[in-house]
Each structure stands twice: as structure tokens, then as C-alpha cells.
């Protein structure tokens, strides 16, 4: 706070507010344009003006004509994202618990996770594809694709768990043990419920990052495309608003996941009467 709580806003506040508003417009403006354009009339094109309003292009997605294997890739992406979400949650939580103690190789694994985060996705894919080629394994979305996605979601999961455990008071566990809880009860009755907001954040990252993944997927999902790859392919050959309709559908799914996660976190914190605490702030994590 650069001025007292009751003071008048300085000029810099208004300038920065303007910058912020412009940035938000920059962030959301183009996106909103394609949501609107996806409702283009049947004769409409890739840009304004709107020639009527219709669901024509959404319908075109389900017809098999020019838009490729929409339903198949859509189902694959959702299933893969759910599997990645579940695995990210379990693996990150277990690793988070492990990192609270000292063990040999901790630093190495930590740096491997950070390297996984910074590594260009194309190279992860290339490497996996090369291993497959040498070993004679056919890349499949539920095998190599899954592994490639995990290299992207797990570092985020791990960093969120670090942030969450940092704020987790160990005396909760000791209190539970003192009150007769077994190891399993400490986990299920104390650690998991207390960490719930952070775990939901991990799940959100697991789902959305997998659902939208491109760079690691191109060489690892095999013959059957996931949704983002389908869209990527469409950008090269589809020049109708069907592309935008697909964008609207897939973004709606993402927003649904975000809304469910954030509302659940908000409900938990409100129930606990802890108000807006940073522990419930899922975006505190991508650092």
C-alpha cells in the first residue's frame, strides 16, 4: 500500500488501473470474439460481420464431413485428462509427503521435476518417440501419451504440494496421534481434509494441463489424436467457423473445470470460516 488506507488514490493508481484493464481486454478480448463467431450463421465466415446467429457450426462438428474425428478425440482427451488428474493427485501427494523428510536423492528428484517443467515439450515427445522406436513399442495415447502428460503435470503438482505443506502445521498430525489416530486415520481424518483446497488445485492443474496439452502429445499419442491435436490439425485445413465452434466447446469444458474447482475451494474455506487465505489460491503455484 503506497498510501494510507483512507488516503486518496494517487494518479499512479489510475494509470495502473488503466494498464490492468487493457491487459485484461488483451487477454480475453480475442477469446470472446471467437466464442461469438462460433455462433455464425451458416453462410458466415471467419470474421465479423455475423451473418445471422445459429448453432450450425456446432452441428458441423458432429457430422463427420470436414472436421475430422471430433467425438473420438474429444472422448479420448476427457478420459486421458481424468486419468492424468487422478495420477497427478496421488503421485504429487505421495511425493509431497516424502519431501517433508530427508531422504537420499531428494535434491536430484527435485531438480529432475524442475527440468521436466522447463524442458521444451517437443523434446520430451521426441525422446519418448525415439525410445518407442528403438524398443519397438507403438506409441499409444493411454501409455506414452499418458507418460508425456505426467511429465508436464507432476512438476506443477509437486510445487503446489510444497506450497501446501509449507503452510501445514505439523502439530495437527501430532495432535491426531496424541488423540489415538492410527497412521491411516491421520491421513484420512486430518491431512487429506485439511489439505483439500490444495489437492483440488492439484487436480485442476492435472486435468486442464493434460486436456490442453499439445507439444508433448504430437509424437506420443500414436495414431489416434487427442482434441488439441485435432484442433491444431484443423488450423491448417479448416477455414470455417467450425474451428471456432470447437474452440468454444473445448474452452467451455476448461471453464467448467475451473469453476468447479474454484467454487469447491471457496465453499471449503467459507465453511471453515478461514476466509480468503492464500492456501486456497490455486494459482499461487505455477512458480
Amino acid at each position: 500500500m503506497t498510501v494510507g488506507p483512507q488516503g486518496r488514490r494517487p494518479l499512479s493508481f489510475w494509470i495502473l488501473t488503466a494498464v490492468f484493464v487493457l491487459f485484461v481486454l488483451f487477454l480475453y478480448g480475442p477469446m470472446s470474439a471467437i466464442y461469438i463467431l462460433s455462433f455464425q450463421g451458416p453462410t458466415g465466415g471467419l470474421t465479423f460481420p455475423m451473418r445471422g446467429v445459429s448453432l450450425h457450426w456446432f452441428g458441423a462438428l458432429f457430422g463427420q464431413q470436414r472436421t475430422g474425428d471430433f467425438s473420438g478425440s474429444f472422448a479420448r482427451s476427457i478420459i486421458l485428462a481424468l486419468i492424468v488428474m487422478a495420477l497427478t493427485l496421488v503421485i504429487s501427494l505421495a511425493a509431497g509427503l516424502a519431501f517433508r523428510q530427508r531422504f537420499r536423492g531428494a535434491t536430484l528428484i527435485f531438480y529432475a521435476a524442475i527440468a521436466s517443467l522447463v524442458m521444451p515439450g517437443l523434446f520430451v515427445g521426441l525422446g519418448i518417440a525415439l525410445v518407442c522406436q528403438v524398443l519397438g513399442i507403438t506409441p499409444r495415447w493411454w501409455l506414452t501419451g499418458l507418460g508425456a502428460h505426467l511429465t508436464w503435470t507432476l512438476p506443477f503438482g509437486l510445487l503446489i504440494m510444497f506450497a501446501v505443506f509449507n503452510r501445514f502445521d505439523r502439530s495437527y498430525e501430532e495432535a491426531a496421534r496424541d488423540l489415538g489416530a492410527s497412521d491411516r486415520q491421520v491421513l484420512t481424518a486430518v491431512i487429506l481434509p485439511i489439505l483439500a483446497p490444495g489437492l483440488i488445485a492439484v487436480a485442476l492443474f492435472g486435468f486442464t494441463l493434460s486436456y490442453d496439452e499439445v507439444a508433448r502429445s504430437t509424437l506420443t499419442v500414436g495414431a489416434r489424436n487427442t482434441m488439441p491435436l485435432e484442433i491444431y490439425a484443423m488450423t491448417n485445413n479448416v477455414t470455417s467457423p467450425a474451428l471456432f465452434a470447437l474452440g468454444t466447446v473445448t474452452t467451455a469444458i476448461s471453464f467448467l473445470a475451473i469453476a468447479v474447482a474454484l467454487l469447491t475451494i471457496a465453499r471449503i474455506t467459507r465453511r471453515r470460516g478461514t476466509g480468503p487465505v492464500r492456501a486456497a489460491d490455486p494459482a499461487g503455484a505455477p512458480s
Binding site: 502445521d169 502439530s171 495437527y172 501430532e174 495432535a175 491426531a176 496421534r177 496424541d178 488423540l179 489415538g180 489416530a181 492410527s182 486415520q185 481424518a189 486430518v190 481434509p193 485439511i194 483439500a196 471449503i268 465453511r271 471453515r272 470460516g273 478461514t274 476466509g275
Partner: protein, 383 residues
């Protein structure tokens, strides 16, 4: 824990705890009688919390034995020891209501919902928190949270209640209120309380047994009156306050008294009891602040045995008495608590010279500190 023997006496035998290279607790032996209120008193880092956590079973001793009710508790998990720990931060589960927090132990033991809620409500009544049963911990004040933590610990029906700095997070008013409430509970329940604190008045007010700790060892374990009036060592005298600690080197002794050379040419005569110090040996003794006679310079003061001359550094009015701080040749602050009337009969002011003197039979002889070197003045707890 519904054993036939419900004795809550705690015994430590030569208990040592190391954390890597650091020695947190060094061969401590201590017996806390059943149904007594024991305070572990000392500055932070003295090992008192480690002892508490070892009794609770959250740390295992590196060596030595701990017995509760005569039973060796090595390897027992916390819940099997018949102890309950109240955490400094209270550690109330943020996702559970007050009632569910209190009922947690019963839930872990598989007690049906109805019954455990009934039990919890009974405990909440004991700590006068019935009205808050459905609140979440975050919606309670510090004092209320503490009552809930107390109820949660007591529902396990412990024979020993362990309290880690239970009053430190409360404001002054609540602290005094909770202090007397803790004492009341301990008397009513007739179980052993072990209470860790770094505040001397808290320990004096509550404890049947005060254990003064320093650097991982016990300096003195005795009744409150004993540690206050008859501190064993310079460290205890300084930490408990109310005393001036003075050192002199033995010039001469006749078996009953010794004559000590003090700083700045002062001479002290102290009663020896069983001690027989050799000439030249340093001897520490304490004189209570309220048993010192203060004479104004120029009022016929004569430098004699058992007196120190000094410059008045500060005068603080304390209500029933006046606290006068002298700078003397001892290098430590020398404090005199003069009764109000006596002080104002002939007041002194900052900058005056004054002479403090005392009777030889009011001197209390000290043994050297067990931990570290004898005379470090760094831990003075000026009250």
C-alpha cells in the same frame, strides 16, 4: 486408558536427547509425583519442550528411560501412554467443528456418533464452551480455542496432561484468568499436569514442583517457594528474579562464616553451613532485593562489611515499593526494592550515590551453575 492402576507419576531416568550434533537434553533425571502440578521453566532452547514431547511420545529419547505410573513407555505410541498434549498453537483441526474436534479421539476409537457427541458436550460444559459447539475453530478467539483444545485433550481421560506454553498466545487479562482455571481443573481432576513455560510468575503461581532448566539440564527442581527464596545456583536466582547475585573470592573462613573479597574492595561475610571453600575460591551468594537497606550518601553512611556503594541509575515507582537500580562495582545491575514509606522518607534520585547493605544472616549461599560457566549475567530476568 482404563487401566486398574491410574497413577500419573512421571519419572525420567538419565534421559538424553540429541538432534544431530546438538544436545537438547543432557542426562536429565526427574520425578514428578502423581496428581501434582509441575512447571518446566526456562528460556527458549533450554530443552523443556523436548522433555514434554518425549513424555508425550512425539520424540523418543536418545538414551535413558521414561516411566509413567511406574510403566516404561519406550516404544509406546502417544495414545497408549495415558498422556494428552495441549499444543502451543492449540492445533485445532480447521476442518472440524468445535464438537467434532473434542470428539476426535472417540471417533478414532470407533465410538458411535450419538455417544461421542454426548461425551464431547459434557467436556465442553466442563470448559464452559457449550454455546460454541457448532462453531468452526477459525471463528473462535484465542482464549476460546484454548478451552476447546483443553476439552479435546481431557476427553481422552489422561492421567497426565502435558501443556506446551499454554498461556503464551493469550493477552494479559486472559492469561491470568486461564491460569487460575488451569489450577482449578488440575485440583478437580486430580491428575498430573506438566506445564512448560518461560515466564517465571506463571510457574511460581501454578506449580507444586518447579523445574528450572538451562541448556538441557535441570538447575533446580523444588517447590515454588524453595526455588524463589532459596535458589540453588546463580542461574536460578537470576532467572527467578527478586535476588541480587554477588560473587566474592574467599579470603578467610572459620567453619561458620567466610570472609569474601568483593569487587571494588568490598568485603562480604557469609554463613557457610556445610560448605568449606578453600581460600581464593569464588563463591556466589544471593540477597533478596527487599531485604536490603539503602542509605543515602552523606547520611552517615560508612563502608563496612556486607555493603556495596553505587550510583543510582533508575528509580521506578511500583506502588507498594520503589525499585532502585544501582550501578556498582559488580558490573551487574544491583536492585533494591524499598518499601514505599521508607523510600519517600528520604528519597534518592538518579545520579545520587547510595550505599546498599544487608545482614549476614539474610545472605543465601549459591552453588555454581551446573550448565556452562558460573557467572554469565546474560540470562538475568529482571522482574
Amino acid at each position: 486408558m482404563t487401566g486398574t492402576e491410574r497413577r500419573g507419576d512421571v519419572a525420567l531416568h538419565e534421559v538424553t536427547k540429541r538432534f544431530g550434533p546438538t544436545l537438547a537434553v543432557d542426562r536429565v533425571s526427574l520425578t514428578i509425583p502423581h496428581a501434582s502440578y509441575c512447571c518446566l521453566l526456562g528460556p527458549s532452547g533450554c530443552g523443556k519442550t523436548t522433555i514434554l514431547r518425549m513424555i508425550a511420545g512425539h520424540e523418543e529419547p536418545s538414551s535413558g528411560r521414561i516411566l509413567i505410573g511406574g510403566q516404561d513407555v519406550a516404544g509406546l505410541v502417544p495414545a497408549q501412554r495415558g498422556t494428552a498434549l495441549m499444543f502451543q498453537s492449540y492445533a485445532l483441526f480447521p476442518h472440524l467443528s468445535v464438537r467434532d474436534n473434542v470428539a476426535f479421539n472417540l471417533r478414532m476409537r470407533g465410538v458411535p456418533r450419538e455417544q461421542r457427541h454426548r461425551e464431547a458436550d459434557r467436556m465442553l460444559e466442563l470448559v464452559r464452551m457449550t454455546a460454541f459447539a457448532d462453531r468452526m475453530p477459525a471463528q473462535l478467539s484465542g482464549g476460546q480455542q484454548q478451552r476447546v483444545a483443553l476439552a479435546r485433550a481431557l476427553i481422552t481421560n489422561p492421567r497426565v496432561l502435558l501443556l506446551d506454553e499454554p498461556l503464551s498466545a493469550l493477552d494479559e487479562f486472559l492469561r491470568l484468568q486461564m491460569r487460575s482455571e488451569l489450577k482449578r481443573l488440575q485440583t478437580d481432576l486430580g491428575i498430573t499436569f506438566v506445564h512448560v513455560t518461560h515466564t517465571q510468575p506463571e510457574a511460581i503461581a501454578l506449580a507444586d514442583l518447579v523445574v528450572v532448566m538451562n541448556q538441557g539440564i535441570i538447575e533446580q527442581a523444588a517447590s515454588a517457594r524453595e526455588v524463589y527464596a532459596r535458589p540453588r545456583s546463580p542461574y536460578v536466582a537470576r532467572f527467578l528474579g527478586g535476588q541480587n547475585v554477588i560473587m566474592g573470592k574467599v579470603r578467610d573462613q572459620d567453619g561458620r562464616h567466610a570472609l569474601l573479597d568483593g569487587p571494588g574492595g568490598a568485603l562480604f561475610r557469609v554463613p557457610l553451613h556445610e560448605r568449606r571453600p578453600r581460600p581464593g575460591e569464588p563463591v556466589w551468594f544471593a540477597v533478596r532485593r527487599d531485604l536490603i537497606h539503602l542509605a543515602r550518601a552523606g547520611a552517615g553512611a560508612v563502608t563496612a562489611e556486607n555493603s556495596l556503594e553505587g550510583l543510582v541509575e533508575a528509580v521506578e515507582y511500583q506502588g507498594s515499593f520503589v525499585k532502585v537500580t544501582l550501578a556498582t562495582a559488580t558490573g551487574e545491575e544491583f536492585l533494591v526494592n524499598e518499601p514505599e514509606a521508607a523510600f519517600f522518607a528520604s528519597p534518592v534520585a538518579r545520579g545520587d550515590r547510595a550505599l546498599a547493605s544487608w545482614q549476614p544472616d539474610q545472605v543465601h549461599l549459591l552453588e555454581p551453575d551446573r550448565a556452562g560457566a558460573g557467572g554469565s549475567p546474560s540470562l538475568t530476568a529482571a522482574a
